[in-house]
Each structure stands twice: as structure tokens, then as C-alpha cells.
């Protein structure tokens, strides 16, 4: 009963915020992960142009539902829709910004970057097959590091999330056992561990729980000063979670050949590539109900690609490479008005 009233209140609130948004505002809804940067861009954009953005960070699933219900001009999701799903709904999809997902640990006597893990070992930890920090598999990767015989406490997301989608996608790619037993999804049946709500929940739980390991967006690891682990990537090189490593993952990806840019940036090749990188995506209709609204939204995204890069880096997001932005501009030509004329005109 309590939940029903919450749900009712939430949907009421959603209806009101949508209907009270000014006509000149761009409306969107979806993923929580890019919310801080969208908010920052929106603030700067409003100062420059007077046009505001009304973005509800209700989660990727909610964003897809809202755009399909046509209550918003754009939807945002961390887990990309496939080409066929996009065609079915008449949507186009493009990546807006990227972020890194970082394994964070809380082990006595271990500082950030001291421990190195590889994909199969990480999968075994999250499968519950490795239960102690001084397990041979971890020791082998970390000769010279003194690991205590402490129990490993796995911390994962309890809510559905794009972060989980990308993390489990990585584990599925590097571990056949994970792929078979657990799989890739925004929420999965975790074999072991504690669930915590949101990136901040996982960050807090890892900080509180001795012997724990979790995964969070890079920004949360950095801001909470959590101890991160370095990773061994597909090329067998050890990489630290840094801007250049996330960028490295994007460089090697096949953006052009993937319908809807539905590239999952995990386990990418490249000596410098961080293995768990993720892009977040925007969804829009090819034949929008309101041409004006879609034109406004596209202008905002164009501005964000052109001028938002520095702001993104300040918040530990990675801007899209110029080559990808060029491809996105091509994709935008698919958004047309009833006369078949592209809505977005390049200057």
C-alpha cells in the first residue's frame, strides 16, 4: 500500500513537472549516470541562450518508457537499444558522453592502484569462487603485495542500472562461466554479495565494509577517494583508471559499423584501453510529433558536443571523440519533418 501511494505520488509529480515545463524548454528523461553533466550543460546553455532543459533522471528503463510514451522529446539510456529495437520503435540513438567503471576495494594496508586484477579473476570473485583476498589467483597477479587472509565481501547494485549492465557485459565477455550462470543485464541474479542502491550506495558500502569489493562509476570512486584496483586489459597491459585510458577504449571501438552506435565499450582492444568503459545514449524519434521541440533538443546536443567537453572533463566524464561526433551529425539527418526535410540544419 505504501508503495502504491509512493508510485502514485511519483507519477503525479512526473505529470506535473512535464506539463508545467515552459514551452521553450527541452524535455528529456532517463539515465541517472549522466545526470550531473546534463544538469551542468543545461545550466550553462540556459545562461547563453535562455533555453532551459527539463531532465528527469528516473533511470534508463524509465527513459525508454517515457520516450516510447512520447511524453518527452528525448530519452536517455546507459544500455543501448539494438538496431532492430530502434527500427521497430522508429527511434534513432546516439552516444552523448562516456564514463569509466572502476572496481573499488577496501582491504587493510592496500592503497589505490596497488592491486591489479584481470577479467577472469574479477568474474571469479563476483561468482563467489574466490572468497579470500590471499587466494592464489589474486596473489599470482600481485607478487610483492602483502595480502591478508581476509574474507571478500562483494558489493553490487541492488537497483537496475546501466552501470551493472556494462559491468556484467564485461564479465560475460571475459568469463564463459559468468555468461552461462549470470549473464548481462541491468539487474542480474547475483551469486554472492550485498546489494546497495545507486553508485553512492555501493561507494558507501565499500567504504564501510572491511574486505569488500564493488564497482562504481569513476567519478564516485574519485570523489569518495576510494581505493581502486588496476586492471589488465584485452591486450594484456596493466592500466589505471584515467581519462586517457577511457579515451583509449573509445578510440578502438567500431562506431561506424554498429547500427544506432550500440557499442558497448567493454573489453576493447588497444594497449591503453580501460576494459570497463561505457557510453550513455540519447533516443529520439525519426518522425517527431513536434518539429520545433526536436530542433531545439538537437541544437542543445550540438552545442554540448562543441562546447561541453571541458565541463564534462571537470566532472570526470569523457567527451565523445570528434570522429564520432561527425558520425552523429550524419545520423541526425534521419530526423525529418512531415515534408521529409531534415530537422537539424548544420551551419
Amino acid at each position: 500500500m505504501r508503495f502504491m501511494s509512493y508510485a502514485a505520488a511519483a507519477s503525479l509529480a512526473a505529470v506535473f513537472t512535464i506539463s508545467t515545463a515552459q514551452a521553450a524548454d527541452i524535455s528529456g528523461a532517463g539515465a541517472t549516470f549522466p545526470y550531473p553533466i546534463y544538469a551542468k550543460w543545461a545550466d550553462a546553455y540556459k545562461k547563453e541562450t535562455g533555453i532551459g532543459l527539463n531532465y528527469q533522471s528516473i533511470g534508463s528503463g524509465g527513459g525508454i518508457k517515457q520516450i516510447k510514451a512520447k511524453t518527452v522529446t528525448f530519452g536517455a539510456t546507459d544500455a543501448p537499444l539494438s538496431g532492430s529495437e530502434l527500427d521497430e520503435a522508429g527511434l534513432i540513438q546516439f552516444p552523448m558522453v562516456m564514463g569509466g567503471i572502476v572496481p573499488v576495494i577496501n582491504v587493510e594496508g592496500i592503497a589505490a592502484g596497488q592491486v591489479v586484477l584481470d577479467g577472469p579473476t574479477l568474474a571469479k570473485i563476483f561468482l563467489g569462487e574466490i572468497t579470500k583476498w590471499d587466494d592464489d589467483a589474486i596473489k599470482k597477479l600481485n607478487s610483492g603485495v602483502k595480502l591478508l587472509s581476509a574474507a571478500i565481501a562483494v558489493v553490487h547494485r541492488s537497483d537496475g542500472s546501466g552501470t551493472t549492465y556494462n559491468f556484467t557485459d564485461y564479465l560475460s565477455k571475459v568469463s564463459p562461466a559468468w555468461k552461462e550462470k549470470v549473464g548481462t543485464e541491468k539487474a542480474v541474479e547475483w551469486p554472492v554479495g550485498i546489494g546497495a542502491k545507486g553508485n553512492e550506495g555501493v561507494a558507501n558500502n565499500v567504504a564501510q565494509t572491511k574486505g569488500s569489493i564493488g564497482y562504481v562509476e569513476y567519478a564516485y570512486a574519485k570523489q569518495n577517494k576510494l581505493t581502486y584496483a588496476n586492471m589488465i586489459n584485452k591486450d594484456g597491459k596493466t592500466v589505471a583508471p584515467e581519462m586517457s585510458a577511457f579515451q583509449g577504449a573509445a578510440d578502438g571501438a567500431d562506431w561506424k559499423g554498429t547500427p544506432g552506435f550500440a557499442v558497448v565499450l567493454t573489453d576493447q582492444a588497444g594497449a591503453a584501453a580501460w576494459p570497463i568503459t561505457a557510453a550513455t545514449f540519447i533516443l529520439m524519434y525519426k518522425e517527431p510529433a513536434s518539429i520545433e521541440d526536436s530542433a531545439l533538443a538537437l541544437k542543445f546536443f550540438d552545442w554540448a558536443y562543441a562546447k561541453g567537453g571541458k565541463m564534462a572533463e571537470e566532472l570526470d566524464y569523457i567527451p565523445m571523440p570528434d570522429s564520432v561526433v561527425g558520425l552523429v551529425h550524419e545520423e541526425w539527418k534521419k530526423i525529418k519533418d512531415t515534408a521529409g526535410k531534415p530537422v537539424f540544419a548544420m551551419n
Partner: protein, 331 residues
Amino acid sequence: MDAAVAGRGIGLVHDQAKLAKTLRRFRTGDAIFKWFTLTSAVTVLVLLAGVMIALLHGSLPAWRAFGFSFFTSESWNPVTEKFGALPAIYGTLLTSFIAMFIGVPISLGIAIFLTEISPERLRRPIGIAIELLAGIPSIIYGIWGLFIFAPWLQVHVQPLMIDTFANIPVLNQLFAGPPYGIGMLTAGLILAVMVLPLVTSITREVFDTVPPVLKEAAYGIGCTRWEVMRRVVIPYTRVGIIGGMMLGLGRALGETMAVTFVIGNAHRIVPSILAPGTTISASIANEFTEAVGELYTSSLVALGLILFFITFVVLALARFMLMRLEMKAGK
């Protein structure tokens, strides 16, 4: 005064039409009042029926797909879309049981102390402290539980429990490690703190309704304080005490935010009460926003329906217990 009444009477008699009008006005007023109260009462029924229908309708796909196995399955797998409610039901009942097991005796202790034993000048401060405890929002309990209570349990209490019970059968299963800090026990303990003010304030109030003459008579024939409580106060007030307990249980069953913070949110059934688990309301709060696909959403709604029924059954049981007690007392 007589003259005044008579005067009014004569005035009314002289003005029959006016009297009829006044009476008519009273009657309409009464009718409106009656309809207003009736509508208010019916609204509750309509709302209840509406919630029921919405939950039933929303959960239909889940019932169709899983049938009765929804109650018995331990699996909660969004990837393969196989859902079962057993871990959530188990967690809901277990945490509420821990909360009542610890909360009720303490509440009764506080209430007895405040009404019978405490010196007059201590009553108000303790009473106010308990009321303040009731006013703390549940999210604060959750944050406190996660940041202060759980780490303290993990470092100081849980290792002690695990070591102490390590060689005792059954108990070593119940208190098996590793110590996470958060888990079923922590959630139960936080819930105990949350039901405490509710149960205390109600039992305290019903204790105050015991006529002093009864207690004085009991003391007069040489009863000890314990005997007065056991033989006079508690039998006299048992209906109220059970009512208070049921209100507390209702809160424990439905509490969402604080539990979500400290229970560990894992859809698993493990014998150890130190292990992470989940409750119905915590699952819904966690997963509803990002639940993609009809079956996932519908399974969460089905969980809501089950919670609705559990609450209903608890209330019905409480009524039943009260009826039996009253019949026994009547004999």
C-alpha cells in the same frame, strides 16, 4: 426562564410556517451531514478496492507465468525472467520477527517503568524522548544504520557472535559469518528501534487507564509490583497492548527506506541471520524504477499484493486473538 421559554413557544406557535421552515432546514442539514459522512466512509472502501484491483490487475502476468511456484521459488533472475517471492517473504517475516522479539519486551519495560516505578520528575523527559524517537524520519534511521550502527556491528559485535556460537549446533548455523555489518539481523535491530516508540506510547497510555483503585486494592492485600503488573494491569489492558503490538508489527512489515539501507538487498535464503537478505518493500523500492519488461514489473506488483495480504492476515489474526481472549475472560 420559564417566561422566556413560554414566550418562545408562543412565538413559534404563532408562526407555524416559520417553524416548519426551520425544521425543514434542520432536516436538510442532517441529510447533508449524513451523506457527507457516508461518502467519507465509502471512499475508504472504494480506495481499498481500487488498490486491490490495481494490484491484482498489475500482477496478472506474473501469476499467469509462474502460478503457485511464485510463492515457492527462490530464484530472482531478471536476465532469464524467472521470479519467485520466497526470499522476499522470508526476509520480511524474519526481520519483523526480530524487531518484535527485541522491541516488544523493551517497550513493555519502558511503559511499566514510566507508569508504575519511575519517580515523577523522570517521567516527562523519558516520555518526550520516546516521542522524539517516533518523529525521526525512517531515512535517518537508514543512514544512521549504514554509517554508524552497521560498521560497529561488523567490527565489535558480529565477530563475537560468530566465535561464541561456532561450536554450538544450530546456533552456529544461525550466526554464521562472514561479518558484513549489514544483513537481516541489522535490519531487524533497526526495525526494533523504530517500533519501540509506537508500542511504548500505546502501552503506556493503556496502562494509565487502569483504575487506581484496582492497583491500590492489589497493593493493599500485599501484592508485589510484579504481581500487580502481572495479575492486574496487564490482564486489564491486554486488548490495548496487543493493539499496540500489531501497529508496531504493521510498521515493521511495511518499512521500506531504513531496511533498504541496511539489509543488503540479496534475493537469497541463508540460514544465517547475519547474511544479507531482502524484504518485499525493499525489493520494490530498489527495482521498480529500472524494471524493464512486463514480467519483471508485474512480479514486483505481485510482491506488493503479497505484502498486502500478509498485512491483512496479521490484522485478522490480531482480531482473532483478541476475540479469543475476550471469550476466555468472559467465562
